[in-house]
């Protein structure tokens, strides 16, 4: 047996990051911008000013929640591509509660969050049942359900929940004030409830995977379904459990989007955080402890790069390009490292 040294392990992470930065610099130079100024602008775009930072953090919350959910399904060996749909359903269900449940904020807000969690869970269980009972690969089932969820959101926005008078894809009417997450200040979206939920989500997933029998069995299912089954683990039930828990977290993410960020239901309520979450989790190598900082980096890149367009006249898509390249390079680095270990083992 050969093992990798600590330095090698860090090298496998640091080298691709350095390479990604290098690629970013080259791209910026090609676009005719000063790379250092561009990086500074990205940082400013994400973090300068309280209101701006609040918005960045409120975008971070759903991404963290979705990533936390994906940690569970990835550990169970499931590619939960349906997470986008689960976020959307969470947003829809939360919007329903925000519109229909009366009473003060301490009734409506929890109701909306719980509704969102249930909406996400039900949508995830659809994919789970398709997988376990009908042998539909969760990637295809999930992708199909994503489209259905997105269409459902559009239908609601321009149909039954359309704004008074005009039906517009810009969204429903704003929810009434009691239905919105309480914020720290006027004109600042930042909500401590949302931040608390995101942190709680990460801690929950961390201990679930590390300290519980459920997490350990889930890992066994994800790594070798056959062995897990022969060990007496009810594998289908555990897969469904993973879907359900991921759906709950995704649904809460959706509810945060609805009552904490947009304050209404919009067709693109998921914000693409489901797919982005997949990248976060891949970069975090399926470990819960890493998702919070990585998610913050992703959000900062995407929000900060809008400044590039405004100030340097560079397309803001550059932020997405850089994060994409980073993920690819880190994954390549991991694969390269694994191959090197394998070769060394063969040689020894």
């Amino acid at each position: 047996m050969t093992t990798e040294s600590r330095a090698e392990r860090w090298g496998a992470i640091a080298a691709p990051i350095a390479l990604a930065v290098l690629v970013a610099i080259v791209l910026l130079l090609l676009a005719g911008a000063n790379p250092f100024e561009a990086f500074k602008l990205i940082g400013e775009g994400a973090f300068s000013g309280w209101a701006n930072m609040g918005e960045t953090l409120m975008a971070w919350v759903p991404l963290v929640l979705a990533s936390a959910g994906l940690i569970i399904t990835f550990n169970a060996g499931l590619w939960n591509i349906g997470i986008e749909g689960q976020i959307i359903l969470g947003g829809i269900a939360a919007s329903w509660a925000a519109r229909e449940v009366g009473g003060p904020g301490w009734v409506v807000v929890p109701a909306a969050i719980i509704a969102g969690a249930l909406g996400g869970m039900v949508w995830a269980l659809f994919a789970g049942v398709l997988k376990t009972r009908f042998k539909v690969n969760e990637i295809f089932g999930g992708l199909g359900l994503d489209f259905v969820a997105a269409s459902l959101a559009v239908y609601l926005v321009i149909g039954p929940w359309k704004r008074e008078g005009v039906a517009s894809t810009s969204g429903t009417d704003l929810f009434r004030d009691e239905a919105l997450l309480p914020t720290v200040a006027e004109n600042n979206r930042l909500s401590l409830v949302a931040i608390g939920l995101a942190i709680a989500g990460v801690i929950f997933v961390y201990y679930l995977m590390k300290g519980t029998m459920f997490g350990l069995r889930l890992k066994a299912v994800g790594r070798n379904v056959r062995s897990a089954f022969l060990l007496g683990i009810p594998t289908s039930r555990y897969m469904l459990g993973a879907f359900a828990l991921c759906g709950v977290l995704a649904g809460i993410a959706g509810s945060m989007q609805a009552i904490g960020f947009h304050f209404k239901l919009i067709p693109a309520i998921s914000g693409g955080y489901g797919f982005l979450g997949i990248l976060v989790v891949l970069l975090a190598a399926f470990r819960a402890a890493w998702i919070a900082p990585i998610a913050l980096f992703f959000i900062a890149m995407s929000r900060g790069s809008t400044q590039l367009a405004l100030r340097l006249d560079i397309d803001s898509a550059l932020g997405g390009v850089i994060t994409g390249i980073l993920v690819l390079l880190v994954i390549l680095g991991g694969g390269w490292q694994a191959r090197r270990l394998l070769r060394r083992e063969a040689a020894s």
Binding site: T212, M213, K219, A220, R223, N224, S227, A228, L231, P234
Partner: protein, 488 residues
């Protein structure tokens, strides 16, 4: 024209699958390659057909060295292989299958292909509808299609790997007629089998392999006992075994029919008592695995009744069998036993008695270390399963078995283990037997079967063809039975 394999070596890790093999085959010969499972026949044929690369050695056809790096270069050099499961794509048409893999034009010329197909098929009396989907062909016809395709690609050497598994008797007769015709036309036909009778019926010469080496060659016909001895070696079974009192019956099967894939194991009746050891003999895929699956609820019984300790278990789930004291150890230690990436400690937690929601890691580590010491597993509590050697993986699997089992089912309990580990494994198993656990195990090792079993069931083509008392059976007799022959 003659084919010469010269000093072929191939290793897989510790296993020397082909150890200096030299065989020469003359033009127009039907040549048999005989040997037990794991003797190295398939490896040799895969080397010859370009599926795997040899470590060293040469292959010469007519004195010319062949390039056998991929199946494509092999067929280009004139070596074609008919696999046990014919390489036919079921959803697409016969003619498309025929054209598949043909070199040359990127555009398919189906009309020409159909004409070629007809031309080559005709002398053999094959009759294909070129437009029919390959799914409509019987397995025998799929083989015919493969043969015709390989001939069209210019095969001068045709290898057939266990071609008679899964085809009917009539199809077998047809196949043999075809092969004889091919040999008459000057082809070299290599017929790989572990069935004595078929080799005797078809072939003119035979090479016998055992443990990666050629152990003998013979002109046929030759007395069967010579071949059996070459295949299995001299078996010295020990007779001094302690007498153990059997208890009440723990496993009873009454007219059970099992079906797994396209193998049906019909009408099994058997009862096994506490402390009894039953060996399952037979060639790989003859039904032993399906039988074990049936006794654990993994393969559902189509009919009949299964009882465990007096409790009817038909249609019950695998975990119900576990709850009733049945434990199953399949052959694939890392495939269907251990979980790659999880540590020894994690395996003990998963298999342990403590099912509480939160894991007590300190206690688990301590318990794991005790087990590691007690079962002398060479590894640490945080070693992953795949980092252990085969013997230590098997030790871990045995250490993970719950106490107080009624019935222990195993597949190849000592396959690939060195003698020390194998002995240790059997010490553990026999200790369980002495506690009253009934043991049922499948093995390809005749010595192991004769040494440890009380009774041996011999499987052939999905049926139990014979039940013998291990105390008064010789290795030679068992070898005959495994090959589907009654000992004289």
């Amino acid at each position: 024209m003659s084919l010469l394999l010269e000093n072929i070596h191939k290793r897989f890790g510790q296993v020397h699958a082909n150890n200096g093999i030299t065989i020469e085959i003359e033009e127009g010969t039907l040549h048999g390659l005989l040997g037990e499972n794991g003797a190295g026949k398939s490896t040799l044929m895969k080397v010859l057909s370009g599926f795997i690369d040899r470590d060293s050695g040469r292959v010469l056809l007519d004195g010319k060295e062949l390039d056998l790096t991929t199946p494509r270069t092999a067929i280009g050099a004139g070596v074609g292989m008919l696999h046990q499961d014919p390489l036919v794509f079921l959803p697409i048409s016969v003619v498309d299958n025929f054209l598949m893999g043909s070199p040359g034009s990127r555009l398919l010329n189906r009309a020409e292909g159909a004409a070629e197909l007809r031309k080559i098929s005709e002398p053999f009396g094959f009759n294909f509808d070129p437009e029919a989907p390959a799914r409509t062909l019987t397995v025998g016809e799929r083989q015919q299609l493969e043969i015709v395709r390989l001939l069209w690609l210019g095969a001068k050497v045709l290898i057939l790997d266990e071609p008679t598994t899964g085809i009917s008797e009539i199809q077998r007769v047809d196949l043999f007629a075809t092969l004889r015709k091919l040999a008459e036309q000057g082809m070299i036909v290599i017929f790989v089998s572990h069935k004595l009778e078929e080799v005797e019926e078809l072939c003119q010469r035979v090479t016998v392999m055992r443990q990666g080496q050629v152990v003998g060659e013979a002109e046929l016909p030759t007395p069967a006992e010579t071949l059996v001895e070459m295949m299995f070696g001299q078996i010295i079974a020990e007779s001094d075994r302690p007498h153990v009192e059997y208890g009440e019956d723990v496993l009873a099967l009454d007219a059970v029919t099992l079906k797994e894939g396209n193998l049906t194991v019909p009408d099994l009746s058997l009862s096994v008592a506490r402390s009894e050891v039953i060996g399952l003999a037979g060639l790989e895929g003859s039904g032993q695995r399906t039988f074990l699956g049936g006794c654990t609820g993994l393969v559902p019984a189509l009919s009949g009744s299964i009882t465990i300790g007096g409790q009817g278990m038909a249609k019950r789930h695998y975990r119900d069998f576990m709850r009733h004291g049945v434990h199953y150890l399949p052959a694939g230690r890392l495939e269907e036993g251990l979980v790659e990436g999880l540590t020894i400690t994690e395996h003990f937690i998963l298999s342990g008695e403590d099912k509480s929601f939160f894991v007590d890691w300190d206690a688990a580590r301590q318990g794991s270390q005790e087990n590691i010491d007690h079962f002398s597993i060479k590894g640490f509590h945080d070693s992953t399963a795949e980092s252990l050697s085969g013997g230590n993986q098997q030790r871990l699997l045995l250490a993970m078995m719950p106490p107080g089992l009624k019935l222990l089912l195993m597949e190849h309990p000592t396959r690939g283990l060195d003698i020390e580990s194998a002995d240790w494994v059997w010490t553990q198993i026999l200790a369980r037997r002495n506690e009253g656990t009934a043991i049922v195990f499948a093995s390809a090792d005749l010595d192991e079967l004769l040494r440890y079993s009380d009774r041996i069931l011999v499987f052939f083509n999905g049926r139990v063809i014979k039940e013998v008392d291990a105390r008064c059976t010789t290795g030679e007799q068992l070898g005959y039975l495994i090959g589907g022959k009654e000992p004289e």
